[in-house]
Symmetry: C2
Subunit: 421 residues, 2 copies
């Protein structure tokens, strides 16, 4: 990749420089207090790309997220443009309208500094961490199922005017470099020895089996074409359990900088995939007497997420179908039910979701950016056994899509009982 | 629709004003001769949207195509922006690179006047007229099959870089108003009593049957979503037999102003649909002793178009797969065949093509812009009988896609033998 020049005036914040640099912003001062010397600043970025600071002052707290001109996980050998903060800001404003209260409130955006000052979610922690610890979140499935349905429906031709949808598609077409990461890492790198790949050594026989199958690669590349060329709605683009923050009863969605126009089923499929990896990893994290109950809870979350997605989608279909797609003039205005049309569309969305779920079950184990669910399992032989189940289910999903969440859960349970190495 | 202001400086050409207005253009003078008083000008626009002039001078001929700020077929009550000439110019330059020699050469483009000065194709005439007259064109199927394959493949992520593809997608997202025509007229208006619709009165029972089926509308709307949200390649966007000009041995493609990023199978499906309407209309145009032979030739053209599309696509797959989709690193570099992946992709393209073919078989009979194939049949009872076969085949294709061109042709023959009114 060609090196990117850093825009003039951009300077990465540090814990030391942040108070002085942000002390002139009324929105910041109003939240944390006027005297920057009274602020305390902590850098907490544990993601792969950015700086994240928590600023605490006498009046309150906030978060400052700043893009770095390279991939944090890799270093400055992998440049990444700062404009991703610009796209994140714009998608957050859309999500805030489409599913109010589900994303952090924005206090300030600075395009040159590629920084967003936003709500500090507290006492929320990253969902993935909670799932590794075996904690439950009340209302998790419904909150995320509804989020996926609302953002999908309201960002599509089911709801928007054609001119707005086309203009917004063009707008997010600029998010090329983040799409490039998804395109390579999620859809392609798993299926050959890409330079950036790594995987648990004991997993090798399962990796070899996967890569020996040309059909699974054909299915994965079809999903890549759906991703690059299926601009049905404005996706979050990276909706895994590390992009969700929860208390025991509240759920929020963060980090939509990978946003792009893509398939209606993308976010749902990626999310389900990450629930499933939490499920497969549990034998290494839970004592025997808690394992079955916690794994069952995770499968219930999947069922509830999907049920909430369908229920909310049906509700929006009945009440907000104002776009050019599936206009009521074709059914309701002629005294016909549009339920069949809606169910055919939902079947299409689910089919896509299961394909995306399949590739994600592979790439988090085989390519650059792994999941803590598996990565924190120190016994690599034990880890490989569990990872092999994820690879196996992904393989199944790509070749034979289950028709509904019950069938998916049956496949997950079957994979969870397999000894594959 | 809101009225559009005509850009300042724009003025529609007339037969009288054209010589003086274009006499200063070196590209024009070089083609037809320096003295505008020696030029003769004829207006020949028989399409639905634009002015088209043939200019003849002592040194040669050329064509001047100028957009009007409204839909010519309807009048100034339906404004349409002049920027469609800008998009036509840009898609022509891309097609000229992707399938050299298949589109008219451009001599001059004037964005303010929304006019393109281009090659005069002679003695080519519009293919639809030739088919109504029962004329054959040697090499027609191969030329158009290859055109569809080359423009589809070379305008997609199979060939382009992701950044170029995304930027070009954004560029053509501006062609909103022409997409709007396709979205309404092709996919939706057929299935309810839209204001602009008209159809042959005797066809009413068949129209009622079609509109009574909610499933066919669901399938048509799924194709609309594929059109609005399936940006796989830069489509011609309006590839019917009125957008093809031929001699008895040569074939060219014109009028790509509806260009937009859409499904790989769109142009192929629309083209096949228009061959099929020529086929169904023939009993009204041919004497009995020529009918069977000419209808058989039309079906052969369909077979040859599809065969050429597949053969050329396979060739490009083997030699030009330089994009991010289906990279050789996944198969060939691992000593595996990618034929299965290619055939799965071709099946996806064909499935889409048959769906688009189905909606086109309906809309040319039921909505605003009819085909001369049927429209020139003066006996409306006879016309309706033939149109009903087109509606019937479209209905079948939308609900049950035939797996290949042989199966499609069998369905067409069956429909051609039906008495539906």
């Amino acid at each position: 990749m060609a090196p990117l020049s850093t825009p003039s005036g951009y300077e990465a914040l540090t814990v030391e420089t942040l108070p002085q640099r942000l002390s002139a912003l009324p929105d910041v001062v109003a939240r944390v207090g006027p005297d920057p010397s009274s602020w305390s600043v902590k850098e907490v970025g544990d993601g792969n790309l950015n700086l994240v600071f928590i600023v605490t002052g006498p009046s309150g707290q906030l978060v400052v997220k700043q893009a770095l001109p390279y991939v944090r996980l890799v270093g400055d050998s992998w440049p990444l443009p700062l404009k991703r903060a610009f796209f994140e800001y714009h998608v957050l404003t859309r999500q805030a309208v489409r599913d109010p209260g589900m994303v952090p409130q924005i206090y300030h955006f600075d395009e040159t500094q590629a920084l967003i000052v936003m709500e500090y979610l507290s006492p929320h922690i990253i969902l993935r961490g909670k799932l590794i610890k075996g904690e439950r979140v009340e209302g998790l499935g419904p909150a995320l199922g509804i989020f996926c349905a609302r953002t999908a429906f309201r960002g599509s031709d089911l709801s928007m005017t054609p001119a707005d949808k086309k203009a917004d598609t063009a707008f997010f077409s600029g998010n090329v470099e983040l799409c490039d990461i998804t395109e390579q890492l999620v859809f392609t790198d798993s299926y050959y020895e890409a330079e950036r790949n790594h995987h648990t050594p004991e997993l090798q026989p399962a990796v070899d089996r996967l890569r020996a199958d040309p059909a699974v690669k054909a299915a994965a590349q079809m999903m890549l074409m759906r991703f690059t060329s299926g601009g049905e709605t404005l996706m979050h683009g990276d909706l895994h359990t590390g992009s969700v923050m929860c208390t025991d009863t509240d759920t929020k969605v963060i980090d939509p900088e990978f946003a792009f126009y893509g398939p209606l089923g993308f976010d749902l499929g990626m999310l389900i995939s990450n629930y499933l990896m939490a499920y497969f990893s549990q034998p290494a994290h839970r004592p025997a007497d808690e394992l079955e109950s916690y794994q069952s809870w995770l499968l219930e979350v999947i069922e509830q997420t999907v049920a909430a997605f369908y229920a909310e989608f049906n509700q929006l279909w009945a009440t907000e179908r104002t776009g050019i797609l599936y206009p009521p003039s074709l059914w309701e205005a002629q005294g016909q039910s549009s339920d069949g049309a809606r169910d055919a569309l939902l079947a299409h969305i689910w089919h896509d979701a299961m394909g995306f779920c399949g590739v994600e079950l592979h790439r988090r184990i085989l390519t650059l950016a792994h999941n803590a669910d598996f990565e924190t399992i120190e016994d690599t032989a034990a880890r490989a056994k569990l990872e092999a189940r994820s690879l196996d289910l992904g393989h199944t999903l790509l070749l034979h899509r289950p028709p509904d969440s019950a069938a998916l859960i049956a496949l997950a349970k079957a994979a969870n009982a397999k000894d594959l190495l």
